[in-house]
Symmetry: C2
Subunit: 464 residues, 2 copies
C-alpha cells in the first residue's frame, strides 16, 4: 500500500482512530456531485490539536498527503484525497469550547456542523448566521469560504471569523487574530487561511462572530412572469439598501424540481423566497418597502410565513434544491456550479445561463443568493453519458466565462477544488504566480491537500 | 549619495517628478507623532500603474528601498523611509476611475483622500463610510487596515474593499478580487495586502464598497459620572444589537483637551458622542432604545444635533482629538497609541490605562471607537525629555500587555509600523515565522518598506 510507513506510524499514534478499512475509505471518497469515488489510503480521526500536529509531522516526514475532511458537503471535490494519503476526518473535534454572549462570539472546533452549533447556541439568544444549505462543518465552511442564503445580510465566512488556530505543514500550531473585533497588527493570516481549501494549513479552532436572534422574523414568497422581472426586483431592492436577511431566486425549472421532489404545488414561474429580520416595526417597514418594489415588477401570489414552522418548511424546501434538481433528470447526479457577478449584471448572467442550457440540451435549474449576485446552476447529469458530461463541461465553462466577462468571479461560494482550476489563470492572471509562491513558502513539500485550487505547474505552463 | 544609480535611472524615467531637494525630502520625513524626521533619499511621483511598475523594477535592480507615501497621517511611522531609498508619493494618482451606483461600488487610485472621494461621490447619493478622522489617502488607509468612528456600523477597510490592483516587488502588476460582492476562488490576496503596510506590494487601485447616504442622520452627546458608567452603557448598547453608526467615548481628560483646544465648554466628565443612521422611523426607534439604556447608567446632559452643520461641528471637534490632546501638554507632541479588546473587557482596559497614566505621571487623554472595543491614549510628550519619553514607552508597553491579557490586540487601527514591532512575537507567537516566510516569498530582496511591521530577524532571535 502506498504510504505504508506513514500509516504504520499514524497507527501507533492513533490506535483504532486510524482506519484503513475499505468501507471507511470508500465512504471518505464519496461526494455529492459527479466526481468518481476517490478513496484515501487511510482515515485519521484526531481528537486534539496536538494530535493534528503530530499527524502532520509524521506525514511531513514521509511525504504523505493530508486531505482535511469535514462533512463532505463541498461541491468541487475539496474533501477528496486526490493523491491518496490520509483523509483527516475532524468529526471528533466537534465541541463548542467557549461562548461569550457579552462579546457576541464563540470558539468552536472545526468538526461541529452549523445546525448543531446553532442548537447549542439557542439558549443564549445568539446564532451563527452563515447558512450554506448543507449541514456543513464549520471548519469546512471556513476552508471553502462558504456563504449561502443569509450572506446578503450577515456576510460570508470571510466576514464572520475573528480568529483561527491552525496546524501548518510542518506541524507548527499557530493562532491568528484575537477576540477583539478588529486589529491592524500583522499580515492577515486569518483571511489567508479562509478559502484556502486546506492547502495552506489545517484549521483546528475557530472564533466566530455571533448575532442576536432577531426579535421578529418574517418570511414570504412571491412570483413573477419572467426571470428578468424577478432579478430586476432584486437589483432595485438591494440598491435601495433594504437589509434583506434572505432573498433567493428560483427559476421556473427550479420550481418544477421542487414540485417533483417536494410536491410543492407551486406555479412553474420564477419565484423569490424572502426573509426579513428586525424589530417588529423595522420588519413591517421592510416588508412594506419590498412589496412596493415587487409590485413595480408585477409580482403576484404574495404569501407570508410568520410562524416558525412555516418558515422552517419553506427553507427546508429551499435547502433541498440539490436533490430537487436531481429529481428533474434521469441520471440521478447533479453537476452543481455557481458564479457571482456584480448585481447590475445579474439579469444578463442568469438569462445567458438559461439560454446556454437550452442550447446545449441540458436540464438545468437556477437558484441563487441573488442579493449577492450569486447563483447556482444545477445540471442533471449521468456520469456514464460521456456526451452529456461533455456538454455539462461546456456549460460550466461558458458560465464561468460569462461571469468573468461581466466583472464577476467563477465561484461565489463553491470554490475551485478540483473542478475549476482551469479558470484560475483566467480570473487571477499574474496573481496566480504569487499564490503559488505563498503555497511554496508555507507548504514546500506540497503535502496539504495536493491537487486542489492551484493547477499543477505542468498544466499552468501548458496554458501559457 | 546612497542609491545614486537607482536615483539616476529614476530621474531618466520621471524627469522632474523625481525630486531630491532637501525641502521635499524633509517634508516626506515628517510625521504627526514623536518619531524624528526621517527623510528619504528622493521622492518619486508616479502618475500611472505602469510607472509604478517601472520604478519598482529599477529599484529592484539596485536594491533601493521603496516606501509608499499617501497623506502622511499614519501614526506608527509607516510612511517614513527608515532605510532611505525613495518615498513613493501617490499624490498624483488620485482619480476616481469609475463609480457604479447600481452596484454600490467604485474604483479609485490610491492617492485620493477620503474627504475628496466623498465630495466626488456626493451627487450619486452614495458615500464611502470608513472615517479614521485624518483626511488620509485611501491607499494608505488600505495599507494600514484603517478604521475609525464608523467601523462599528460599516466595518473597517478590511470589510470595505472588493478588489485591488498592486505592483509586487518584482514589478509585476496583479489584480486581486473582482467587482462581485463575494468570491471563493484562490487565496485571499486582497486581505493579505490590506494591512501589510506596503511591505508586500504597492496598492495602485482599489475597488471600494459604497453605502447609500442614510435618509436620516441624527447625532447626540451625553455625559456620565464615571468612565465605567459610560463604558457599561456602550457594552449594553452593542450587546442589544443597536446599529449605532458612531459611538465614541471621551474621558474627562479628552474633554478637558477639547475645552482647551476648541473652547468646547463641556463639563469635564466622561462623554459619549453618538450618531444614528436610517429611515426616520428607524432612527427614532434607535434613539429611543439608546436613551433608555443610557438612562440606566445615569446619563445626563442629552444634546441632539439633527442639523447637518451642528453634526459637522461635533465630528470636526471629535476629529481634532490629536491636536486637543497636544494642547494639554507642554511638549507639543503626541505619542498616540491604540489597542482593541473584546467589548466585555473594555471597562477594565480603559480604567487600567487611566491608572497607568497617573502612576507614570503622564498627561493622557482617552478617546475611542468603543463600540468596537477600540480606544486611543494620547500622551503629551516632549521628545527632548528622555525621562518622559521612557515613561511614555512604559505606558504604551503596559497598555499593549493589558490588551493581550484581556484577549485583544496591541493595535485596533494604527498598526505596527516602527513603533510596535516588539509586540509582534507576543501577539502572534509562532505565526510570525509564517508571516516572515510570506514576506520572504513575495519580496525576497526586502525592498518594500523595509524595517516596518516585522521585527528584523536579529531582534526576533534576541527576543527568543
Amino acid at each position: 500500500m502506498p504510504h505504508d510507513a506513514a500509516i504504520a506510524e499514524l497507527h501507533s499514534l492513533l490506535g483504532d482512530r486510524l482506519v484503513t478499512s475499505d468501507a471507511e475509505r470508500t465512504l471518505h471518497g464519496q461526494n455529492e456531485t459527479y466526481y468518481p469515488n476517490t478513496p484515501p489510503d487511510a482515515v485519521a480521526y484526531p481528537e486534539t490539536t496536538q494530535e493534528v500536529s503530530e499527524i502532520v509531522k509524521i506525514c511531513a516526514r514521509h511525504n504523505c498527503p493530508i486531505t482535511p475532511y469535514g462533512a463532505a458537503s463541498s461541491l468541487e471535490g475539496q474533501h477528496l484525497a486526490l493523491h491518496g494519503g490520509i483523509s483527516l476526518d475532524m468529526a471528533r473535534m466537534n465541541t463548542v469550547l467557549r461562548v461569550s454572549p457579552e462579546d457576541l462570539n464563540c470558539t468552536v472546533q472545526p468538526g461541529i456542523t452549523r445546525i448543531r452549533l446553532n442548537e447549542e447556541l439557542r439558549s443564549t439568544g445568539l446564532f451563527f448566521p452563515v447558512d450554506p444549505g448543507a449541514d456543513a462543518s464549520i471548519g469546512g465552511m471556513a476552508a471553502t469560504r462558504a456563504s449561502g442564503t443569509t450572506a446578503v445580510r450577515y456576510g460570508t465566512m470571510r466576514e464572520n471569523i475573528l480568529a483561527l488556530e491552525a496546524v501548518m505543514a510542518d506541524g507548527t500550531i499557530i493562532r491568528t487574530g484575537t477576540q477583539a473585533r478588529k486589529s491592524s497588527t500583522g499580515y492577515d493570516l486569518t483571511h489567508l487561511l479562509i478559502g484556502s481549501e486546506g492547502t495552506l494549513g489545517i484549521i483546528t479552532e475557530l472564533t466566530l462572530k455571533l448575532q442576536g436572534q432577531p426579535e421578529t422574523v418574517s418570511a414570504a414568497t412571491c412570483r413573477f412572469d419572467t426571470v428578468e422581472d424577478a432579478v430586476n426586483c432584486v437589483i432595485l431592492t438591494i440598491q435601495s439598501g433594504l437589509p434583506m436577511a434572505r432573498i433567493e431566486l428560483l427559476d421556473h425549472m427550479m420550481v418544477r424540481g421542487f414540485n417533483a421532489y417536494a410536491k410543492a404545488g407551486l406555479p412553474e414561474v420564477p419565484h423569490l423566497f424572502l426573509e426579513f429580520h428586525g424589530s417588529p416595526a423595522s420588519v413591517a417597514e421592510q416588508v412594506e418597502s419590498f412589496a412596493a418594489i415587487a409590485e413595480e415588477f408585477g409580482a403576484t401570489g404574495w404569501q407570508t410565513a410568520t410562524k416558525a414552522e412555516d418558515r422552517t418548511a419553506l427553507w427546508k424546501m429551499r435547502h433541498s434544491a440539490h436533490y430537487a434538481s436531481a429529481a428533474l433528470g434521469s441520471g440521478g447526479h447533479i453537476w452543481p456550479t455557481d458564479v457571482c457577478v456584480p448585481i447590475s449584471q445579474l439579469a444578463e448572467a442568469v438569462t445567458q445561463a438559461q439560454e446556454d442550457a437550452v442550447r446545449l440540451g441540458l436540464t438545468s435549474t437556477i437558484v441563487g443568493h441573488v442579493g449577492d449576485g450569486n447563483f447556482h446552476a444545477g445540471l442533471s447529469v449521468d456520469p456514464e453519458n460521456a456526451d452529456e458530461m461533455a456538454r455539462a463541461h461546456e456549460f460550466t465553462h461558458a458560465l464561468g466565462e460569462t461571469a468573468l466577462r461581466l466583472g464577476g468571479t467563477v465561484s461565489g461560494e463553491h470554490g475551485i477544488g478540483i473542478g475549476k482550476q482551469s479558470f484560475m489563470a483566467q480570473e487571477h492572471g499574474p496573481a496566480v504566480a504569487f499564490m503559488r509562491a505563498i503555497k511554496q513558502a508555507l507548504d514546500p513539500q506540497g503535502i496539504l491537500n495536493p491537487g486542489k485550487m492551484l493547477p499543477s505547474a505542468d498544466l499552468a505552463a501548458a496554458a501559457e
